[in-house]
């Protein structure tokens, strides 16, 4: 069929949306260190452990849960995660924008259970083709590093230049190194 985009304007303008949109960083972005001493909210990723939550999805969205991650948006103990009364618990949503890329935190939503959380996430966070896969995680299942400990928690890597290729200057100019 005819190319996508507004049919009333040349198709190239639709492509422009795509290419420009792809470049805007969003979601949990780790900030560059402003000073070597105090690191404002770095977000190192503690290896996520994937646990299948529900595989009954008929909509083709993959499901897994991350048990640990340093995503900072999140659970507060005020938000009940047990489904009581008519208040639905909070879920964190992670979207893989295309094959080969990581799932990225997109935001959160409320849903009564994992199955509905996935569907709500599909409806809310992928209305404009933002993703090819979705994870939902109960907000209170996320363990996060202690922000008050950031000085000590993230101090160790500082100054260990020898972990980086740039430390090794003598080999500069040598091919294939």
């Amino acid at each position: 069929m005819t190319p996508h985009g507004n049919p009333e304007v040349p198709a190239s303008s639709a492509g422009a949306v795509e290419s420009s949109a792809a470049k805007v960083p969003a979601g949990p972005v780790s900030e560059p260190s402003a000073s070597p001493v105090i690191e404002p909210s770095a977000s190192p990723v503690i290896e996520p452990v994937e646990i299948p939550v529900s595989t009954s999805s008929t909509s083709g969205v993959s499901t897994s849960a991350v048990s640990t991650s340093s995503v900072s948006t999140g659970s507060t103990s005020e938000v009940s995660t047990s489904s009581t009364g008519n208040v639905w618990p909070l879920w964190e949503v992670f979207v893989r924008s295309s094959r080969g890329l990581s799932h990225v935190h997109a935001g959160s939503l409320h849903a009564p259970d994992a199955a509905m959380a996935l569907r709500n996430a599909r409806d809310l966070y992928t209305r404009r083709n933002e993703g090819v896969s979705i994870w939902v995680v109960p907000a209170d299942a996320i363990a996060a590093s202690d922000p008050d400990a950031k000085g000590s928690f993230f101090e160790s890597p500082q100054g260990k230049d020898y972990r980086h290729a740039t430390y090794y200057t003598k080999s500069e100019g040598v091919k294939h190194l």
């Binding site: 949109a21 805007v24 969003a26 979601g27 949990p28 900030e31 402003a34 000073s35 105090i38 404002p40 909210s41 900072s72 948006t73 999140g74 507060t76 103990s77 005020e78 938000v79 009940s80 047990s82 489904s83 009581t84 009364g85 008519n86 208040v87 639905w88 909070l90 935001g107 959160s108 939503l109 409320h110 009564p112 259970d113 509905m116 809310l124 209305r127 404009r128 996060a144 202690d146 922000p147 008050d148």
Partner: protein
């Protein structure tokens, strides 16, 4: 953690505890000040001054409420949209507003306030939302004027907030601004079609612009000399430009765009001040603004009632889904236990 700050404080702290708490606060404040000075971001679990948290919570939740209440004047026209294309566009737009409300409520929740509490406050009339949605959408041209003027003003306000100092707020604004880029354009196109249409259509367009112009300018908030909290908010980087600054920029954009539309702004005093290098506009009726804000606008009661009704009518559905989830979880647990 947001929750930690909200936990009840024990009656009496030992002198050592008091000293330790004071020390933590001092360290937190120093770090917070550093983040502000660097124009960096505060994240939910960081220490933050109580007033910062409170101001943010009010600002973000009011913004969320505005999106949700703001659905109504436009939703009322979905059923009557004069072409199927316009019907689809309007539906998608109003639906986006629900989405934007959700993104913002999520951001507010990271400050420790559950969404249902915010919703309760809204329905109880205890929370504020953008006053402009208390005006009625009387004709189809209002869909154009709301998109062009109201969303235009909102975008003016929101684009700088993509760099708000509170991480979740800024991120929500990025998503919203990207999605909203179509909202203003579709409004502009509605007006353009009407303006180039029959005399009756053109008149409908001009009438809508006349009615929405002043309320849209007032969306930026009171004049700077009557906006006592602005300074603090700007110091906290949760407000990037002053009300008057944004209003002036907005007027400048509208002056250009209204010409393309072939319509006029209902303001004979719009001019560019060569000395200040700023756009100026005629006087605004701040008494009316305050009246509407205080609940005495044309649609205040109606808007709240509609939200309350949807919320109340939906209670049994939310209960059912929650009960089902609890039952399934129990079943699952029993199976695990048996195995």
């Amino acid at each position: 953690m947001a929750a930690q700050n909200l936990q009840p404080v024990p009656e009496a702290l030992s002198p050592e505890e008091q000293e330790r708490a004071a020390q933590l606060d001092a360290e937190g404040q120093a770090y917070f000040d550093h983040v502000m000075a660097q124009d960096s971001r505060i994240e939910p679990k960081d220490w933050m001054p109580a007033a910062y948290r409170k101001t943010l919570l009010r600002q973000i939740s009011q913004h969320a409420h505005s999106e949700i209440i703001g659905m109504q004047p436009e939703a009322n026209w979905i059923s009557r949209a004069p072409s199927l294309k316009r019907k689809a566009i309007l539906m998608a737009k109003v639906q986006d507003e629900a989405g934007h409300g959700l993104y913002l409520y999520s951001a507010a929740e990271t400050l420790g306030q559950p969404r249902d509490k915010m919703m309760d406050d809204l329905i109880a009339g205890k929370a504020r939302y953008s006053s402009i949605f208390n005006y009625p959408a009387l004709t189809w041209a209002d869909m154009g004027a709301i998109g062009w003027l109201v969303d235009g003003a909102a975008i003016c306000n929101q684009v700088p907030l993509c760099r708000a100092s509170y991480g979740p707020y800024g991120r929500a604004m990025v998503r919203i601004c990207k999605e909203e880029s179509f909202h203003q354009r579709q409004g502009f196109e509605i007006l353009l079609e009407l303006s180039n249409g029959t005399p009756a259509q053109k008149q409908m367009a001009q009438d809508a612009v006349n009615r929405w112009y002043a309320p849209a300018l007032m969306m930026f908030g009171p004049p700077d000399d009557d906006s006592p909290n602005s300074k603090q908010s700007m110091a906290w980087n949760i407000k990037r430009f002053s009300n008057d600054e944004l209003r002036s920029r907005f007027v400048g954009m509208m002056v250009e765009q209204v010409r393309v539309l072939g319509l006029t702004l209902p303001d004979s005093e719009v001019r560019f001040n060569d000395e200040t290098r700023k756009w100026e506009h005629g006087p605004l009726d701040w008494e009316e603004f305050k009246e509407v804000l205080a609940g005495r606008g044309p649609c205040n009661a109606q808007r709240l009632e509609r939200r309350r009704e949807a919320h109340d009518d939906g209670a049994w559905v939310r209960e059912a889904a929650a009960a089902y989830a609890a039952k399934q979880a129990r079943k699952h647990a029993e199976k695990e236990f048996a195995a």
